[in-house]
Symmetry: D2
Subunit: 479 residues, 4 copies
């Protein structure tokens, strides 16, 4: 079928070696660079056109050090000793033996020696959300958010030699498998039917009988990449001679057009009902006697006519409804969701001193020093492209921001992300900052009525870590 494709010829771009210390002005540019690095410098456009949501991609790099800095088992040992890691919440211990998948999680804290003891018995270790504990993983996931416009997460899998930890299954996320240590054999199967393409819900555990021949059967070695879309069944096992450690970077969970329309369509119905009296008219007095399951294959002529009229009226209303789709406010709601889900920004030392994270007042020698002021000449911009989102909601203008999010998903704000209420006379300034990103602009250039408003808005954004100044704010000097 159309689902079976030939392997394509990959175009690798001529890499311009970037100087190590390149600072990206635009977080989307940085995101794009991380993306490119992750997919092994396959051309991003080609990747999006040919593989993204369409087919798997295996890149053999023959460079075991390529992903070396991301994470190692030694680092995991260190994380387990330094942090309070819990079984089930952070760590799963699993086996898949003779077609049977089992979980072996003890209760409570996952001490390193307990984890290694279980590993030594042949169990796989799945480390959930390593971005909470590992800075390099945080950096990758946080960076990619700006490439995908969507939350990016990760899991790490450590598998003892000669074992398999999970049953064949498919997931509801786009998966990038980065082999970190050792080797692993992967078998990947294209969707078995159209219904599995771009699946929005993960499959249960499958068994061998559910599967035909794999479309890909390959051994990943350290430094190799494997990408496959959601809906692609996969299974993987460590080879007898060596353990395997890989990280799966994931994205695009609940980020489909269907998810978008779940926001937009009910809102459209509210708008249409308010705008068009036809939506508010009563239903036909007797429609319950010709509409409904029991009446659906009725061949009573009179009923068929009535059913046709009913259908046409519904269709007419749907046409109007389609014109009412509030695409922008639905996009803003999706953007608010990203703000809610997002990892907080990771800042360089240089960035920290130009933001509230490490800038401004300090305590020294029994008193507060560096009592800074924002001046008309202070140059500011948003910290990152998607660091905040301006939304009309409940008759307010709100600026939702992700700077105070925890590295643990929804830990601090389980229900809603925090927001600033932007008074309407300040809103044009926020719009200006969003649209001018990544360029810096002087506070005096904000299109607001008076200087007080300009300073007020800037101070408000600065205090929530949303803006960065071009230079560190120093007492008595320009920022």
């Amino acid at each position: 079928s159309g689902l079976k494709r030939k392997r394509k010829l990959l175009r690798f771009p001529t890499r311009k070696k970037k100087p190590t210390h390149t600072k990206y002005e635009d977080s989307r540019e940085k995101a794009s660079h991380i993306f490119s690095w992750m997919i092994s410098n396959v051309d991003v456009k080609q990747f999006m056109d040919e593989y993204w949501e369409k087919d798997f991609l295996h890149v053999k790099r023959n460079n075991s050090q390529y992903y070396k800095k991301v994470l190692s088992t030694v680092e995991i040992d260190r994380i387990l000793r330094k942090n309070y890691i819990m079984f089930t919440k952070n760590i799963d211990i699993t086996t898949y033996i003779n077609g049977v998948r089992k979980t072996h999680n003890p209760e409570g804290r996952a001490y390193a020696s307990t984890v290694w003891d279980l590993y030594s018995t042949g169990a796989s270790v799945r480390f959930l959300n390593p971005q909470t504990y590992s800075n390099p993983v945080w950096k990758i996931c946080e960076g990619l958010q700006d490439a995908f416009g969507c939350f990016v997460g990760a899991n790490v899998y450590l598998t003892p030699p000669g074992t398999q930890g999970f049953a064949p299954h498919y997931d509801d996320i786009e998966a990038f498998v980065l082999q970190l240590e050792g080797k692993k054999r992967w078998r990947v199967y294209r969707p078995r039917s159209q219904a599995e393409e771009c699946a929005l819900v993960s499959s249960p555990n499958l068994s061998e009988e559910d599967l035909e021949e794999p479309d890909l059967d390959v051994v990943l070695e350290a430094g190799d990449l494997l990408y496959f879309p959601r809906g692609f069944i996969h299974q993987a096992n460590a080879l007898p001679d060596v353990h395997s450690l890989h990280i799966t970077v994931s994205s695009f969970q609940n980020n489909s057009w269907a998810n978008f329309l779940e926001q937009a369509v009910p809102a459209a119905l509210k708008i249409a009902t308010s705008e068009n009296p036809e939506f508010r008219r009563g239903l036909p007095l007797d429609y319950l006697s010709y509409m409904g399951l029991v009446h659906s294959d009725n061949n009573d002529i009179q009923k068929m006519d009535l059913r046709k009229l009913f259908r046409e009226k519904a269709r007419f209303l749907m046409d109007f409804l389609a014109d009412m789709l509030p695409l922008d406010s639905a996009a803003d709601q999706m953007g608010k969701k990203l703000i809610h889900d997002a990892l907080p920004p990771i800042l360089s030392h240089d960035e920290r001193v130009r933001t509230i994270y490490n800038g401004g007042e300090h305590w020294e020698d029994n008193d507060v020093v560096n009592r800074v002021e924002i001046t008309p000449d202070t140059k500011i911009r948003f910290l990152k492209a998607n660091i905040a989102r301006l939304i009309m909601e409940e008759d307010e203008i709100r600026l939702y921001f992700s700077t105070e999010n925890s590295r643990e998903y929804h830990e601090l704000f389980p229900e809603e992300p925090p927001y600033l209420v932007i008074e309407s006379h300040l809103a044009p300034g926020v719009e200006q900052l969003i649209l001018s990103y990544p360029r810096f602009m002087s506070v005096s250039k904000l299109a607001l009525e008076d200087l007080t408003s300009k300073i007020e808005l800037t101070a408000m954004l600065w205090e929530k870590g949303i803006v960065i100044t071009k230079k560190p704010l120093i007492s008595g000097f320009d920022g």
Copy 2:
């Protein structure tokens, strides 16, 4: 504007005097008769075409006895003494003096003498849901359900001479005002804007400044009718010389096309997402940077192009969505809502002995007598047109029924109406009974595989009061 209309010439049908004891075979026929009686024998078709949801109708009948049997203040006194009537839940005591609307409800039980004491001070008495306590009101509301395909309720208003109990306002229901005793001056105002036509939400209390001249200003006398649609502002006051008692019969609350689409559209989105992979595809990587409030009036050419593409894709999906509307199952969900809201059936003595309400086994002389059996020759039909609804839900076929509802709204089943699970081999029999209504059919004629199934289905429906037999079941005889 188009909202202002001329009074129409009413066509009164030549009334064929029905014999008093007419029994309606079809509950819809009975409903139609009650409807016709209530609107004073104005031709129902003309009423629906010219007034329903469009304009008010005042019928002066010059027959103070016309609605006499519905309810009287003397009967209310009796109800207060015989039943446990509560302030706030069943009775409101209100005044509207100098533009100020107040509620004066004591706490607890509404004893007759307390109510009359308050009335004597000039307060109006609103008796909520009289159908729970008055048989004639129950009979009217229960009957009309089959005419409207929708819950029918009522409130009663008793106003002392020379007073007004309520501020001007509009409601979210179609209102039929039946003047029972005394007189009342009514002022009715057509919707002030398109947004108020067929309002789905009641207005707050309005003040005189909100109003222009009334479109109708008339004194209702006992026996008169006043109809006005939802969204029509109205106010009424008793004349100085006499009290006023009227009942407002109401219907079509939340029974609009918008309410229907609230059922159908989310269901359509689920179906479309499952059927069409385009709905499951990911959103464009960067749409958050060109969709959204901030970007909506952007005149950046590149963004405008991207916005156009986005809009077209959404429109394309909406067209597919419109084709997926599950009209029949949405109608069934609305039908289930009617089953949930409905008043229970009111039965004549003759009907009671042909149903489980008073048929079947009795206790006499220390033992059970009349141990009856359903036989192949027993003739049955559904008790009423909308007494039960067959629905596919959660992989089951369910027959929801209203026979066990309380006369108090949702009292016994606050969440969901009760239902029978119909095994799939019995479902054709239920369909047959629904479609053949109001004709009786022999149990043996049910299109089921064997006699056991036919008897089993009939017994199941009989035991829930859903079917009525042509003749009383008598031990040893045919039903």
Copy 3:
């Protein structure tokens, strides 16, 4: 053992035939009469001394008509047809066959013919809380409340010939079995251990192996009485030739000294903590190292000394605590519980016209008539002894009352009974009325500061049905 007793010689009082129409001034006197009638005119004092909570009592009366007016199966048939009776909530269908106890309740409404159908297959019918539907049962239970100072309930049991509906068990209530129709063999067993005496929790279903020989084995015939205390195991079966109908009147559930102390002791601890700083002193720094399970059988001398000191301190505090028991306010809380649980008062026609239930204003001929006034000469008293209870709570004086309770347990006030807030200047009047019960007193005699207060208090109590006037209130006349 001490639990086995001889049958005592019953003293029957010489009955002074009361004239049929005796009206009891004091509801406690009426209660005492009903109690006496129920226990077959056994002398009440003797009953309380020799049987109550101590031993069973069987009275054979040889008068099958004695309890005739209480309830009959024919009346149950009528109740099932007239009311909305539900399986499980109101009716249980049970069997006990070969040592196995089963419940066979259908869902939903219990139509008479369905109940008789199940009965005809040999199942027992338990009708719960018949007082809600039967006036004579209501009258008995409501009357006895004043004899027991505690809620009185009932269940009715109908058993087909030759069957048994329940397994042997004991209950947590004092049980009075009144045989209404047919016959039933009862086997009763005294408590098997001290732990079962006056059990506060019912037993599970027991089996024959748990039992020795019964202490009573007797056949009850219509008109007979059987009393047994809580904690007494019992079982009963209908004889082969005739069905059995009996009612069990029950009381004293959770009405023990332990229940009283559950109110009083935590309150005493609060008082003692507030009054005595010793309760607020800190615990010894190191008590956790010598108190506790692990240290309880330690024979380290030093620890034993410390444990002794700790124990003595606790004992010293308990002595103080015992002096702080707020017996009166605990009794008031128990009284409030009775108000909450109580059946509403049942009134004669004569009483109804002298209370708000049927006295005061009426509606007649298009207007309110009999607009009555309370005057200084109006003579009033509380309607019944336990109709209301005066309680200090949350810095208010509250008069809780049971007049608005439903006949269905806790139906209208699931959490708390309703109450009037009595301003402190009116409280002496309420006290006076409580203490002077059952004597009538003139409103003018109320020990309040001025006439306005006297009228205000009387009106407040009248409007809640708490007081009754000596004569009906008539407009322009004395009450």
Copy 4:
């Protein structure tokens, strides 16, 4: 009054300089040392006899470096930058100006520069629960737990020169004020009445009018200590020339005899009810007519007699109740509360390698190394005196432990601390370990039936960090 006392002559012990690296075998010994250090080497026994819960104590030490290592404002600056500190949850910003106490908390994260900005305007900074972020504070609080047998917490107060942050008030905790930087004037007032002594609830903010002359008026300088009991009103203000930083170490919240009896008395009532049928007997039939508020000052002789009998019966039951107090299980419940509230243990490097925190298996060079075994010769003991508590609960033997607690109060276990279920054959081993603390014992010496049980119990305790081995467990060697 008796509340006013003379200052006592303090006995300072001759201090034996402890070698810096002393390791305390017994955590209670270490706790006692920390306590002694904190109260400035006042003799602990003298302190407990003369001051604890009785009177304030001010120690002027003339050594500004004494508490230097506990915390400094510079360290707070560092904590604010490194951690996610929240206003309201972790930081309060307060002022007390002209008798008005205000809170000025922004929402969200407390960035250092925002805090210093607010401080610069004259507001006080209260840093709640610094033990979560500062290791020295954690060490003090965690250590003192074993001295007090009760949770120990802390707050830090930073006050700008010339200001006061809080109104006069008293607290519900024993307070040790350690002046860290600058100076502060303290005014302390002994309880104004017996009702305030050892208050179990904090006072609201008081005003000057509520106060008389202070009983202590003193300026604290860095290195000084001030202790005062709960119920002692206090207020403090920074002097004009210098800021003030102090930490208040607090304990004995809800750790009084009243709190103990709240556990013990209801349990005693349950036991008494089960043991003694007198508790289960019914209340007198008519007690509601002579007990209660209304009857309390009745001088009806008959009622007075009945009230006396009722009182005597209650008193008799209370005497029995007092004998039933389950002192040991109530102590265990208090001990469980300590386990729940407790800070987790802080371990030295040497201790970490002898426990699961850093002992046992490690990951090195692609594999697990140091796969250790517990042997009969391994020597173990509990990690700390109060690290776990053995409790009978719901028919299980449970060992509650605090090793997995978070440094943030109740963060991980909001409802209940975690526990191990100890099978009854292993319980004697746990008892032995508790009673033999702080001595090490060989696994083989555990009084259990067989070696398997001994190893099983030791492994279970080791895996939860409850026991420490005498020597690090090394693969192939004795522990």
